[in-house]
Structures are given as C-alpha cells and as structure tokens.
C-alpha cells in the first residue's frame, strides 16, 4: 500500500513537472510578420496568482493577481507580468490620486533572486501607468490598479530562468498614496515551486518557439 502511495506521489510530481515544461505551450501568436517578415512569438499568459505570495499590506479589500507571459518580436524578447493590485481606503479618491496610484517609470528594474542567492536584473522596456479605478464597497473605497509591465530579456538570462530556481521577485514601482508598493518602492513576491514552474514554462515556451522554423 505504501509503495502504491509513493508511486502515485511520484507520478503526480512527474505530471506537474511535465505541465511546467514546454509540452503544453500555448501561443497567442507564432508567425512571421506580414509586412516586415520578422518573427513574432507571444506565449500565452500563465496565472501565478495564489502561487506567489506578496508582501502587500493586507488591509480589508487588499488583494493581488499576477500572471506571467513572454514574447519576442524581431529578436527582441520580453518577459511580461500582468498585475492587478487593490487597496481599500476610507476617503474617495481624487482623479490625481488615481493618476498616480501606480507607475513604473522608465529605467525601473525587475530584480529576480535566484535559489543560489544571486540576483539577476531585467530592465523595463517602457514606462507603464496602471489603469486605476475606485469602487465604493461596504463603507470603503476599493482602489484597483491593473497594468502590464514588460522587461527586456536576453538569451543568457532566459537560459538561467529556465534552468535555475527563482525564489523572489522585486518589481520597482511607484505609488503616490496607496499600499500597492513597499516603502522601498517595489512590489515583491516570494516565489514557490508552482510559480517557479510558471516562469520556467513561459520562458521555455518562448525559447522553444524561437528555435523552430516558422512556415
């Protein structure tokens, strides 16, 4: 009986590893550009929510969603994160509060702490301002900000993300009034095994597509 259970666990682990691999790659786009002939690859989003714990201030109404994807156009590869963060406040926001609720300026970095405690740094491809909205709910205003941030990814770093374990993400960002970012000016996530697999998968899928010829 014990052997059967051990075997079952082993198969489950194997299945999880296979899922994190490139066998089940899903692409939103994998073709040559009609006009330029450049190779275009967009790996579909993989949800990391619930797999990566964040350091957000856990006030009532506070939550976070995070998805990861990767893309390449004309040899320029990007690692993308789609985030939705929220906070609850007592006072109604002014338009200026929403405008400055979440911003990732040019020159911002993504610091990825690897299992061996080394840190690799990716730079943001372009500045991003979150789309922020307020909704009155049970006596407080829930401020939600959604944004997609893209980081330049070279082949060497892509290889490391596929082959090494990641334990921590730190996305530099600014928030004028809300607890979307830490005092250090970042959104941070502990990465567990499942979130690691999501990262590995999207980067591995991108590498796989780029290594294949497209008709």
């Amino acid at each position: 009986m014990k052997r059967l259970i051990a075997l079952s666990i082993a198969f489950t682990v194997l299945a999880a590893d296979a899922d994190a691999g490139t066998a089940s790659c899903k692409y939103k786009q994998n073709e040559a550009d009609d006009f330029t002939g450049e190779r275009l690859v967009k790996v579909d989003w993989v949800d990391m929510t619930g797999w990566a714990s964040s350091t957000f201030n856990r006030t009532i109404g506070g939550r976070k969603d995070i998805e990861v994807a990767a893309e390449s156009a004309g040899g320029h590869s990007l690692l993308k994160f789609r985030l939705k963060v929220s906070d609850a406040v007592q006072n109604p926001p002014r338009e200026q509060d929403l405008y400055s609720a979440l911003y990732v300026p040019t020159g911002s970095s993504l610091e990825i702490t690897m299992a061996d405690e080394s840190i690799i740094e990716l730079m943001v491809d372009e500045a991003v301002r979150g789309k922020s909205r307020a909704k009155y709910d049970q006596g407080s205003y829930v401020i939600t900000s959604k944004f997609t941030v893209r980081y330049s990814l070279d082949a060497e770093l892509a290889e490391r993300l596929v082959n090494e374990d990641v334990v921590y993400l730190r996305l530099a960002a600014q928030s004028h009034k809300y607890d979307f970012v830490t005092d250090k000016g970042s959104i941070e996530f502990n990465i567990n095994k499942k979130a690691q697999q999501a990262l590995t998968k999207v980067v591995g899928c991108l590498n796989q597509a780029l290594s294949e010829e497209v008709s």
């Binding site: 009609d34 006009f35 338009e95 929403l98 405008y99 372009e126 789309k131 909205r133 909704k135």
Partner: protein
C-alpha cells in the same frame, strides 16, 4: 454616433459593390465633396469613404475597430485619406486623463499597404494626430470611442502602384505601436477605385 457609423458602413458596402468591377468614368463614382471656395477659388474633392474592414461589426466584442479610405484633392495636392475608428467597451467610466492623447500618430508616420501580389507600398503621413477619446455611458456599459483622419500624400508613382492591383492588408504606424487591418474581400479594390475616381473627377 453609432448611427453615423452604421450609415458609413452601409454606404461603404454599396460603394464597394459598385466599384468591384473597376472604375470607368467619373459618372460611376460617388463623390462626397466637390466644391470650389468662393473667395480663394480653391477646389476640394473628396471621394466617398469606404470601410475596408468590418461591415457591421460585432457589438458583443469588447473592442471594435474600423478603417475607411477616401481619395482627397485640394489646391493641386492629392492624398489618400485614412480614417481610423476604435471603440472599447468597459464597465466603468475612465478618468479624464486616460482619455487624453490616446491615439498619437506623428507626421511622416508610415502607412504600409500590402498589394495582392505581396508587394508593399509605403506612404508617409502629412498631418500629426494627437486624438483624445470620448466616453459615453450606455445602459449597460461605457463606450470609449477614438477616431482620427490621416492624410498620406500621393504622387504619380504611388498612384500607379495603388491602382494597378488590389490591396489586401494595411498597417497604420503610430507613435508607439501599429494597427493592422485585413481588407475585406469586397473592398480589395477600394483604394485603387477611390484614387481612380478622384482622377476621373478632376
């Protein structure tokens, strides 16, 4: 606003069907404007706008886009007039700052036209675009509309290239992105037909 779009769409459908076989004379052409200014004596001619992509659209989608084309003449200058129209449906009214400068197309931006044989004709815009969006609350959601008209000057070489065969795809290059359009099969000759109509009318 939607009724105007519908009208344009219907008009373009009719125009496309008329011109599908090629333009013979000015009498076959639908001209939107042909007037001479009483003071300056400058003549302006604009052919009827034809929608190249969607005909009725799909109102169930959160995002819709349309592109229309006309040929334009004024004071000795000819241009291809490209109209862009985008509609996004969202749940909540966006803040004003999100509606500003939503479509930016600098002067000299490119319009790439893929012809039926796969060759690409490149035009360059003459007017900078810095368009804002307009949000309108409907019964169930908010419609965010953005539109702009871009002028791409035509010379004899471009006219020859654009009228010699049909066009299958268009790419409108903007400040930080580009917009691709697949030309509807009934509109393949609309660009060439509009230019030929302009020529015939002049």
């Amino acid at each position: 606003m939607h009724s105007v779009i519908r009208w344009l769409v219907v008009a373009s459908f009719a125009a496309s069907a008329t011109f599908a076989g090629g333009v013979a004379t000015a009498a076959d052409c639908k001209i939107e404007t042909d007037e001479t200014d009483k003071f300056t004596k400058v003549r302006t001619v604009i052919t009827r706008r034809n929608s190249l992509e969607s005909f009725w659209g799909d109102s169930s989608k959160d995002k819709q886009k349309d592109i229309y084309v006309a040929a334009w003449y004024k004071d000795g200058n000819k241009a291809l007039q490209i109209g862009l129209w985008f509609t996004n449906y969202v749940e909540r009214m966006p803040p004003d700052y999100e509606l500003r400068n939503t479509l930016v197309i600098p002067k000299e931006s490119r319009l790439l036209v893929m012809m039926a044989d796969g060759s690409i004709v490149t035009l360059h815009s003459v007017n900078p675009i810095n368009a804002n969006s307009r949000a309108t609350r409907t019964s169930s959601r908010v419609s965010v509309d953005t539109g702009a008209t871009i002028y791409y000057p035509l010379d004899d070489d471009l006219i020859t290239a654009l009228t010699s065969q049909g066009a299958t795809k268009l790419r409108v290059e903007a400040a930080e992105k580009h917009y691709d359009f697949e030309v509807h099969e009934k509109s393949l000759t609309d660009i060439g037909d509009a230019i030929q109509c302009l020529q015939a009318t002049l």
